[in-house]
Symmetry: C2
Subunit: 232 residues, 2 copies
Amino acid sequence: MDTLTHFRLCPFSRSVRLVLTELEFDVRLMEAQPWALGPEFMAMNPAGSLPVLRLDDGLTLYGAYAISEYLAEEVPSHPVDQLSVPLFPGDREARAEVRRLVDWFHRKTFDEATTHILEEKLYKRFRSGHGQPPDVGVMRAVHKNLNYTLGFIDYLAQERRWLAGDDLSFADLAAAGQLSCADYLGEVDWSGYASTKLWYARLKSRPAMRAILAERMPGAARPPPYYDDPDF
Amino acid sequence: MDTLTHFRLCPFSRSVRLVLTELEFDVRLMEAQPWALGPEFMAMNPAGSLPVLRLDDGLTLYGAYAISEYLAEEVPSHPVDQLSVPLFPGDREARAEVRRLVDWFHRKTFDEATTHILEEKLYKRFRSGHGQPPDVGVMRAVHKNLNYTLGFIDYLAQERRWLAGDDLSFADLAAAGQLSCADYLGEVDWSGYASTKLWYARLKSRPAMRAILAERMPGAARPPPYYDDPDF
């Protein structure tokens, strides 16, 4: 069976897992720890990127970019009640819009917010084996940056059913990957972003998302009570 | 005429300019200053990403990811003496390899090296209006990270004519965008990477690359003498 190497609180792993479930593309999950990748993993994947999709026919895909474009090219979408459109639906303009948004969430949101949240609130602790308080200055910058993303989503969600237009696309799932990890660690302040909340509530009620939100991370603090509640 | 908004020492701008020239896709260039993007630019492109390709038919593409995938889908490649293959040449395996490498250079090399080199050696100076010495600790980490990329390229270039295989691809141009900006600012130590040097020398002798290497940045230190020399 095809295998996805992931980490349960890696935002890229989550966006790819959401896509795979929406496409009804079954994989076996193997978990890696981003703060302690072993030499075999690094020899296979010197960038240290997650997730990694290893197909039974021998092809291995490294990272959300290669995996998502591969799935868009090679895997047919399902017309009924699952992902009703391709990952990058529509004409060239619509596809460009999806990719612009994916780039925002995977580069800007991750680089300026999610990666620091994971480092300060999770990896530090697991690397050292004991709790270390997050850096206050870093977290202040993170909240400002994350609010910029929330405001941007709010702006989009006021005008559109899904972030890139009428149809669910990889843009929504990429955003969900980032936000759900930050939310698990209690760092998303949803107040003031009513349209973002409505959009995220609709995502939360999808089976693919529900399955991920049901998972817990042993050794880490529990997520806030609204984390897996669609009516939050 | 189609317009590309770029910055001459932005590595993503460079990789896209290389692609456009290789594809004989003529654009008018407009320059922006990444350390001082104006409100009109940010209103149009709240991610602040460069480059931006505005087509005459109204479509606007933001960032190297959306632009490169658009060009791969929509612009035919030329069979003779220019880019002899598409940006993502070959079968699904070959395309996945190109995207894995692009991701390396655009995410890993940029995030861990190029962005810090630009900030420490260029943007700091232009933002403040006077020279400020680069942070020694940051630059030490940057050199270590950049050497990891150079070692990785060396490993690939020992086995392959171009980084992803037999044909020039977007992987080579993405790497050239990052390395040439770092090299302009004197931060690449090529010694010890003989195969990387040979690969880069072949890139340097291409007309698309020569045109970019002939440019200078007013107000910044001059690049090292070997910067635009294919026999370096």
